[in-house]
């Protein structure tokens, strides 16, 4: 790929791009100072949290490249991942084999759901984001229908110990100890920090690195270039003979599959599955994490995904502690971080629509 000619960006927008991450760094530092948080504590927390969330955030990149915007539908992919985790746990396949099996099982489910979501996005051109959000809610209903009502009544099911007392429906929490740390401990490494041993999930980091490389490689393939062209100008891309609708579905499928796999990373680190709520906030937190790096609705890079995950989850660790120390109430810090997540997304959406609008009126 020839290097893209770098447009001369005026100082003001460039500063605006860096303003968001800088503001976040400032917030994190102030919070850390206020909460008397030591760097070592932060590092220990971030090692786990980064391993948990990075792939989910990376799953957002392809749809942005294709001009679909922020894929709020990754919640659907996360559900596919959870379904696979449940099945693997019931079959009693443990360790890395169990995790690998979960990946294999999750992929076809995610492909089917991704095709459905992509079809939906094609029907709702120009409203992909709000449709993705609502599709996530809708899928949540369908998910509940399957796992809260159909399992054990319509779908024969023998493992009584994970069923609710009424005889059907899965329990609210499922212990995933079979696959917990399956990847994290593949290359076991402990570092002693401040006298306590800290798990360093080397293998997980390696796979995250692989996902980054895959994303970068994908952008250089023919399909990746087609998606980029579509993202820049769908009309021109259509005239150039790019099968837009098909490519949009493919982009959604890739994102959904990545999200399913990402959710499995999340679960294997956490070790328990909240059957009916683990997936709910995946979309919001992943998207907020991507956006705090200065990424926008139309432009996001691998580096931004990594930076955003680090920054956002630092704030996540810091804000309840800072809230407790400053205001005597950890609850306020928790409210604050949820508020920040929503506010960051709102601001990004407003800026996106604003710029698009002004470009239209100036042309």
């Amino acid at each position: 790929m020839p290097p893209r000619p770098r447009a001369r960006v005026p100082l003001h927008p460039r500063l605006a791009h860096a303003a968001v991450p800088l503001l976040f760094v400032l917030l994190c530092v102030l919070g850390a100072i206020a909460g008397h948080i030591t760097p070592l504590f932060l590092i220990r927390e971030m090692l786990a949290r980064f391993a948990r969330n990075a792939v989910l955030v990376l799953s957002l990149l392809v749809p942005i490249l294709a001009g679909l915007g922020l894929n709020f539908g990754i919640v659907i992919g996360a559900m596919a991942g959870q379904a696979a985790a449940i099945v693997v746990t019931l079959w009693g396949v443990r360790g890395i084999a169990g995790f690998a099996l979960a990946w294999v099982l999750a992929a076809p489910i995610a492909v089917v759901l991704g095709i459905a979501t992509g079809w939906l996005f094609n029907r709702a051109r120009g409203r992909e984001m709000v449709s993705g959000l609502i599709a996530g809610f809708f899928a949540n209903g369908a998910y509940q229908l399957v796992f809260l009502f159909a399992v054990g009544s319509l779908i024969p099911f023998h493992a009584r110990e994970v069923l609710l007392p009424q005889g059907f429906g899965l329990r609210n929490t499922i212990d995933l100890d079979g696959i917990q740390y399956a990847v994290d401990d593949l290359i076991p490494l402990r570092v002693v920090l401040e006298g306590s041993s800290v798990r360093v999930p080397l293998a997980t980091f390696a796979i995250i690195g692989l996902f980054c490389a895959l994303n970068l490689f994908f952008q250089r393939t023919k399909l990746g270039q087609e998606l980029r062209a579509m993202g820049q100008d769908p009309h021109v891309a259509a005239i150039a003979g790019i099968p837009i609708e098909r490519n949009r579905v493919i982009a959604t499928v890739i994102s959904t599959v990545f999200a399913a796999w990402g959710q499995l990373f999340f679960l294997q680190n956490l070790g328990t599955l909240n059957t009916y709520s683990s997936h709910e906030q995946v979309g919001m937190f992943s998207i907020a994490a991507l956006l705090v790096s200065g990424a926008t609705v139309t432009r996001a890079t691998v580096g931004q995904a990594i930076l955003g995950t680090l920054l956002f989850h630092t704030l996540f660790v810091v804000s309840p502690i800072a809230g407790r120390v400053l205001l005597g109430d950890a609850q306020i810090g928790e409210f604050f971080r949820v508020f920040v997540a929503y506010a960051v997304i709102s601001v990004a959406l407003v800026l996106h629509a604003w710029q698009k609008g002004s470009r239209k009126s100036s042309s």
Binding site: R123, R127, M129, L327, F339, Y342, S346, V350, A353, G357
Partner: protein, 358 residues
């Protein structure tokens, strides 16, 4: 020969009118209507307390009506489905807390609460409308997330706000509003009980229904006045309107303010009937059922009428009320919440993906 030739054409014509009528009623409305009838059928067949079911349904229709109605001005103004309803709702909630904190009760309290809510909603609506003018084409997404941000930001406000009435704040610590405030002894069910009368065992919440009807009439009348017609005209053809000296930026803000004010008053009426004021995350998802009501009534993203509001609220709220007691006879566990998620969001998705409606 001539007569014979006319017959198939006539039949085709009849088929066409049937299809036309079907389109007029709308497939979703038909399906939901049949579903509701089936639920009532089961209720009758299993000798359930039909009067109680109808009473509850009516109550919920009256309670939620204003919030559904609040969506209408936004669609009339060309802003699409106003997922930013929580912005207005939060204004109403602040008003509730203010009058409760002052210890007011009875009719003056209810009236003043609605008034304060409306007053707060005006600047909020102006700001929201201004922002929506700058984010054309993405109003629904911006509205949704702005609503989420406002509700979560207000969570901080509820914990920090300087309210000290011991009935409202947590007993331990003496700071931060409780998640649910009871209205018992203040203006609990005041409108519901006003001129309420039983008819064939069904008690009618006359006051709340009257408020809903009056608000509908008011909105209907407003869109016949000069200001209302201007809003509708600017929506249907902004360029033509501009040529006639109407700025659609202005009318869109007006529509947003109207919608926000209705939402603020709507939540006050809702709380009055419900008997509790719910703070913190309670308003977060309130826009979605309201939007689903309107859509089930037959509205689209760009077109809605008072009939859609009334029919939709009747259908959806009745289903939500009747479904739980009826299905619980057949299925253990609460399937209503799941059914609500599917119907509500399926309906919104259907509306968002309709072709030729943008």
């Amino acid at each position: 020969m001539v007569v014979e030739a006319a017959a198939p054409a006539e039949r085709a014509g009849a088929l066409e009118t049937l299809r036309e009528q079907l389109r007029e009623v709308g497939i979703p409305r038909l399906v939901i209507g049949v579903f509701l009838l089936a639920l009532f059928g089961i209720a009758v067949a299993t000798h359930m307390d039909l009067r109680g079911l109808i009473t509850d349904s009516l109550l919920r229709v009256a309670r939620n009506g204003l919030l559904v109605l609040a969506l209408l001005p936004a669609i009339q103004g060309g802003l699409g489905l106003n997922f930013g309803l929580p912005i207005g709702i939060v204004c109403g909630l602040v008003a509730c807390v203010i009058t409760l904190n002052a210890g007011m009760a009875g009719w003056p309290a209810l009236g003043l609460t609605a008034l304060i809510g409306a007053a707060l909603a005006v600047p909020a609506g102006i700001g929201y409308g201004w922002l929506l003018n700058r984010t054309r084409g993405q109003e629904m997404m911006v509205g949704t997330y702005l609503g989420f941000a406002v509700v979560s930001g207000m969570s901080i406000f509820w914990t920090m706000a300087p309210f000290h009435n011991s009935l409202l704040v947590w007993a331990i610590g003496g700071r931060g509003l409780r998640t649910t405030l009871t209205l018992a002894g203040f203006y609990d069910r005041l409108l519901d009980k006003l001129w309420s009368f039983p008819i064939a065992g069904v008690s009618i919440p006359t006051g709340t229904l009257l408020v809903f009807a009056a608000a509908c009439a008011l909105v209907g009348l407003f869109f016949r006045t000069r200001a209302g017609l201007t809003i509708a005209a600017a929506r249907s053809n902004p360029r033509f309107a501009r040529a006639a000296g109407i700025s659609d930026e202005r009318t869109r803000v007006q529509a947003t303010v109207f919608s926000t004010v209705l939402a603020a008053v709507g939540i006050v009426v809702f709380c009055q009937s419900y008997g509790f004021v719910q703070l913190y995350t309670a308003p977060l998802l309130m826009a979605f059922p309201a939007v689903a009501c309107l859509l089930i009534g037959g509205a689209t993203v760009s077109r809605a009428s008072l009939t859609h509001v009334v029919v939709g609220t009747l259908l959806f709220q009745s289903i939500l009320t009747v479904a739980l007691p009826v299905t619980s006879q057949v299925i253990q566990g609460d399937i209503t919440e799941t059914a609500r998620l599917i119907i509500q969001n399926g309906m919104i998705l259907y509306a968002l993906t309709r072709r030729g409606e943008r």
